[in-house]
Symmetry: C2
Subunit: 191 residues, 2 copies
Amino acid sequence: MEILKQRILDEGVNMGHGILKIDSFLNHQLDVNLMEQVGLEIASRFQDLHPDCILTAEVSGIVPASMAAKGLNNIPVVYARKHKPITMSEPVFIEVAPSHTKGSDVNLMISPEFLHPGDRILIVDDFLASGKTIEALARIVLHAQAHLVGISVVVEKTFEGGRNALQHWGVPIESVVEIADMSDGEITFAE
Amino acid sequence: MEILKQRILDEGVNMGHGILKIDSFLNHQLDVNLMEQVGLEIASRFQDLHPDCILTAEVSGIVPASMAAKGLNNIPVVYARKHKPITMSEPVFIEVAPSHTKGSDVNLMISPEFLHPGDRILIVDDFLASGKTIEALARIVLHAQAHLVGISVVVEKTFEGGRNALQHWGVPIESVVEIADMSDGEITFAE
């Protein structure tokens, strides 16, 4: 998706240690038009698998997931909570994942009210790096006896190995853009 | 907005102490079609004030804010972070607000990169209860020497006094639906 690559080149900051700052359109300020195009791209890649729910994690996965849901006949989006609000009923599905940008472990909690046995689940997130957040979400899908049909992210950093770590789920993994190298202070896309 | 009132009556849970659980379409699972209608309603009420940025707070304000932004010619959305990611540059604007549903204080942080002097800011959030979160966001707008033009929320609980607490900002406050009473275990809308 050329428009997203160009925005990353124009506005992204390589902060070192594999950290990409794209706060001007995704992680702090949102360009909703760009996010809509990203969401429709994700939807087009998975429509033939007929997901009936998108699962994501708060915070930055929510808007790409919501825009993808609009392109998939408005299927529901469920976002895993990292901090349990008092409205969340017990019991909950909970998994723990280390956070790349927080430097600590985060809880991911989903209520069984919104994740049912047999549901066809598409996981959508902003980044695929080590794959640990998505691995945790996929384990929750398994706990719920739901059916994982695919994984999609806005930006994959292929050099962090997340794709390999997630292969065991046996589902398609689709990234809107793939960054192959950030080691020299540059941002280099795959092929 | 009758469709939202009906969904609140059908799916909302009055948890006591003024807490309304609407996790089935806003606070955990998202109905993106309903949220789009809510966003367009907010946009229609503020288009004549020509906001050029929407300010919200993570997490549950983000989707209504994004859908409103789509209805306002895709103006940018900035969401205050509650936990500082390592991508967030110093210095930041920071205010503290007590959280209704977390039972503790939360930080609200916005980078000056995305909030400029003279910007015309519309604040959008999911709930207006005591008004303390929105008060904190409005103080950040003031610190940034930006110009607050309006406040909009999806659900106002009129019995918690937030509207009065925010009157001193001198801007229109628009709620998509207003709940007047939750004291008897019921959910009663204004007039």
